[in-house]
């Protein structure tokens, strides 16, 4: 089967491809990927991403490589340990990986699989449709990440792991799905990382110790189980290393967002999502990822120097929450409508998050997460968050694209936040119900009119101001 072009498009060198060929063949066979799929991939990728950029090509390559590793981990004699979407706290799996890179492969398989099959191979929603017949029916707003995982398991694309760590720190659906996998589809009984979303309205900048300790102990318990599996002790150093790794990746990611502070923007935000979605996955190719970021950053600087413009100068600039990782049509519609998304509010570290009240990597880890507003899905911090980001970036509006099937994001209540943002900050807000991991019900097309109208609202405001 001929996939050389595909892998070249994804930043592979020829000899790399040759060396990998046997692995690729095996993995593609397991995933039932044939010539047709390769063709589609060759069309899809350029539509979704700006492959002129070497950095982007490298990124895509990492996705493919990780998927290969996942598929082959077992027969290459590694233990397989899964986390679950949304994957937080990522340090947990990263620490396990760091402790014994050669003994274990860690992953959130639903992300790898979903992203590669959808955004690279354009096999939209194949797995989602499967899942709908196996316990996650359509029409009831089941999370498409969970559906992707269930579909992958049913289709036997996702190997059964040696240990499943269920990240239930803010999502209720994942644990339910995970339980179904163990009761009905022969997955191991998961070990849970639990948490309670019980911060009080005025508590948001002083996280109670008991909450930190509870989350920390949950993570520690998971690590202990992992130790038994991999036979290597997971120490505080490993945890510390894991945290450092993630910080380094985050720096890379932020440096790319830094490019967008330039007007006009040199690259489409659509190319950044692959980094974001890799960043919190325990990938083996972590160093490559950081490299790729540097490459992309340099390319961006060069474009700026050349005055390259993805969207004409002077376009309204908005903050956004998050974007699909499988389909960039929303981004392209927005940018075509002359709307620039400059910063993903989730990533901005607000004052309160920088505070440290505890010592030791484990407790620190826990505290960082409890201070993350999006993750603890918590109104007041979100308000603070948007206040600080909008000030720092002097944004013209907020583009609230949220995952309709995610109860956390629903409970976060965009409607209430819109009221607050418009009243307090006087910024227009567009709330878009969407889906990060499926195009089955929400395609970019469906929201074209609203995005374009929103762009007009912002332009009109700018015009009014300048008058």
């Amino acid at each position: 089967m001929e996939y050389t072009n595909l892998f070249k498009m994804c930043g592979y060198e020829l000899e790399e491809i040759e060396n990998e060929r046997s692995r690729i063949d095996k993995a593609f066979e397991m995933l039932e990927l044939g010539p047709k799929d390769i063709e589609r991939a060759l069309e899809t990728i350029p539509q979704n991403f700006d492959i002129e950029l070497a950095g982007v090509r490298k990124l895509l390559g990492i996705w493919l490589e990780e998927l290969l590793d996942l598929m082959l981990a077992k027969e290459e004699g590694k233990k397989l340990i899964y986390g679950t979407a949304p994957g937080f706290p990522c340090e947990c799996l990263e620490a396990i990986r760091v402790a014994a890179p050669d003994k274990v492969y860690c992953a959130n398989p639903e992300f790898l699989l979903g992203t590669v099959l959808d955004s690279l191979f354009g096999k939209h929603d194949e797995l989602v449709e499967v899942a709908e017949g196996y316990g996650l029916p359509p029409g009831f707003a089941h999370c498409s990440v969970g559906e992707t995982k269930l579909g992958g398991v049913v289709k036997k694309y996702i190997p059964v792991p040696d240990l499943a760590i269920c990240m239930g720190i803010f999502c209720d659906q994942t644990p339910e799905t995970e339980e179904m996998l163990s009761e009905v589809y022969g997955f191991p009984q998961p070990v849970y990382v639990d948490n309670c979303l019980d911060l009080n309205w005025d508590e948001w900048d002083k996280i109670p110790l008991r909450k930190i300790e509870y989350l920390a102990s949950q993570v520690r318990r998971a690590l202990d189980r992992a130790q038994e599996i991999i036979g290597v002790e997971i120490t505080d150093d490993h945890i510390q290393k894991a945290r450092v790794n993630l910080f380094r990746t985050l720096d890379g990611l932020m440096s790319i967002y830094g490019l967008l502070e330039n007007d006009p923007i040199p690259i489409s935000v659509g190319n950044i999502m692959p980094i974001y979605y890799l960043y919190f996955n325990p990938i083996a190719g972590r160093e490559k990822l950081i490299e790729a970021c540097q490459t992309l950053h340099q390319e961006g600087r060069q474009r700026i120097a050349k005055g390259y413009a993805v969207v004409p100068k002077g376009a309204p600039r908005v903050l956004f929450t998050c974007l699909p990782n499988i389909d960039n049509s929303v981004v392209h519609i927005a940018e075509k409508a002359g709307l620039v998304m400059i910063m993903q509010t989730v990533l901005w570290p607000i004052e309160a998050q920088r505070k440290k009240t505890v010592q030791g990597p484990l407790l620190r880890l826990a505290e960082t997460y409890l201070r993350n507003p999006y993750l603890c899905g918590y109104g007041p911090i979100n308000m603070q968050w948007i206040r600080e980001t909008s000030r720092h970036y002097n944004a013209d509006g907020v583009f609230w694209y949220w995952m309709y099937s995610c109860r956390v994001q629903a409970a976060l209540n965009p409607i209430a936040l819109r009221k607050w943002i418009t009243d307090e900050l006087g910024l227009p807000v567009l709330i878009l119900e969407g889906d990060f991991h499926s195009t089955r019900e929400y395609s970019g097309e469906a929201s074209r009119t609203r995005i374009e109208a929103f762009a007009e609202v912002l332009r009109a405001r700018k015009a009014a101001k300048s008058n």
């Binding site: 359509p138 227009p428 119900e433 469906a446 009119t449 109208a453 007009e456 609202v457 009109a460 015009a463």
Partner: protein, 380 residues
């Protein structure tokens, strides 16, 4: 197409333009769809028409938000309008100085009343009688005369005979061009797709009239020498209550299933172009004659058979292979007609019809797709 590019750039900057014009003291007049508001009057007093409602639809969130202001048992599109207003997502709606509402039925009335009750927009109503009788004609004529006064008093500009005639000629020109373009779709291989045409039709509500007329002229020129892109697909007559700007789901599904819409008939949302205003004789009468008497009436007319016969005529003239009836939830007049029209259609033309009812809900797409696809299959 080049003309397309120019037009879309014009449209993109339209809101800003209007904002500026408002700043310079121009009045922005919103009006509800249905084709009973003679735009000519607005142009004749130098005001800017902004078709409220018509220009937005097809999205679910405004419909949901409307739940807080109106029970859900009224027409989806009409509920959506209060939604947009409170969401403040539609820049044009905020520019409006006066909302003109030709009251046709309770659903449209709901828009007027909600804007009156929940916002501080000024609303001007005039009734559209439901029978084409002399009383009806007189009443409608009085209505637009009142509108005329209202506009003159609001803008401080008198609507003189000559300015009105000018406006009418301009609007007639636009109508003629639209109908020429539409008639091109009679060809076995239409030079433009249904979606293209309807977007053009919708643009004609937003764009500056002169710009629009020019755009249409160049379109016509381009299409004349253009090799028809649309293949010899099954031909569909698309009809229903409201076809809002942005509500293109149905077009995508039909064209996605390998058929082309060659002619539309909608009460609300599309510009009616088949009749022009006669400029001989008294102009106000002429307007009433065009907008009330010669206009094909919507389903809530009493009686409304005229529309159904017109549909049969269109089906024959455009030699279609099937009819798709696309209406919105709870627009009861259409529901009831959709029960007996298929028999009329079959006996007159032997064609079959598919009825689809939308509440602007995303979860509809799946089911709709299957139904449209099977329908297209059967009529191939």
């Amino acid at each position: 197409m080049q003309a397309g590019e120019e037009l879309s750039t014009h449209l993109r900057t339209r809101v800003i333009e209007l904002t500026k014009m408002k700043g310079q003291g121009h009045k922005i007049i919103g009006y509800t769809p249905g084709g009973y508001m003679p735009e000519e009057l607005l142009y004749a007093c130098g005001a800017m028409p902004v078709p409220v409602g018509l220009i937005r639809g097809g999205e679910h969130e405004p419909v949901l938000v409307a739940g807080a202001y109106l029970p859900r048992w009224l027409d989806t599109f009409c509920r959506a309008q209060i939604g947009y207003k409170v969401l403040r997502e539609e820049a044009l709606y905020d520019l409006i100085d006066l909302l003109v509402v030709p009251v046709t039925d309770n659903n449209i009335r709901a828009i007027a009343d909600c804007w009156n009750f929940y916002t501080d927009t000024e609303v001007f109503r005039f009734g559209v009688p439901h029978s084409k009788t002399d009383n009806g004609f007189q009443y409608y004529l009085e209505g637009i005369n009142l509108l005329k006064e209202k506009l003159e008093q609001l803008t401080g500009t008198e609507i003189t005979e000559s300015r009105l005639r000018e406006a009418i000629n301009l609007c007639n020109r636009e109508r003629e061009l639209l109908s020429e373009l539409s008639l091109m779709r009679k060809f076995e291989r239409p030079p433009l797709s249904g979606r293209d045409f309807i977007e053009l039709n919708h643009a004609s509500f937003l764009a500056d009239k002169k710009v629009m007329v020019e755009a249409l002229q160049s379109f016509r020129a381009e299409l004349k020498q253009k090799e028809a892109p649309v293949p010899g697909w099954p031909r569909i007559l698309l009809t229903g209550s409201t076809l809002a700007f942005g509500d293109y789901k149905i077009y995508d599904l039909i064209e996605g299933a390998g058929a082309s819409v060659v002619i539309e008939e909608f009460a609300e949302g599309v510009r009616h172009f088949s009749e022009v205003v006669h400029t001989d004789g008294a102009l106000m009468e002429a307007l009433a004659d065009r907008y009330f008497v010669r206009r094909v009436p919507p389903a809530w007319f009493r009686p409304a058979r005229e529309r159904l016969d017109y549909l049969v005529k269109l089906a024959k003239d455009f030699n279609v292979n099937g009819v798709i009836w696309y209406q919105l939830m709870y627009r009861d007049s259409y529901d009831i007609e959709s029960y007996y029209f298929p028999d009329i259609l079959r006996s007159e033309t032997g064609l079959s019809m598919l009825k689809i009812e939308s509440d602007y809900d995303v979860s509809e797409i799946g089911p709709f797709r299957t139904r449209v696809e099977t329908f297209i299959e059967t009529i191939k």
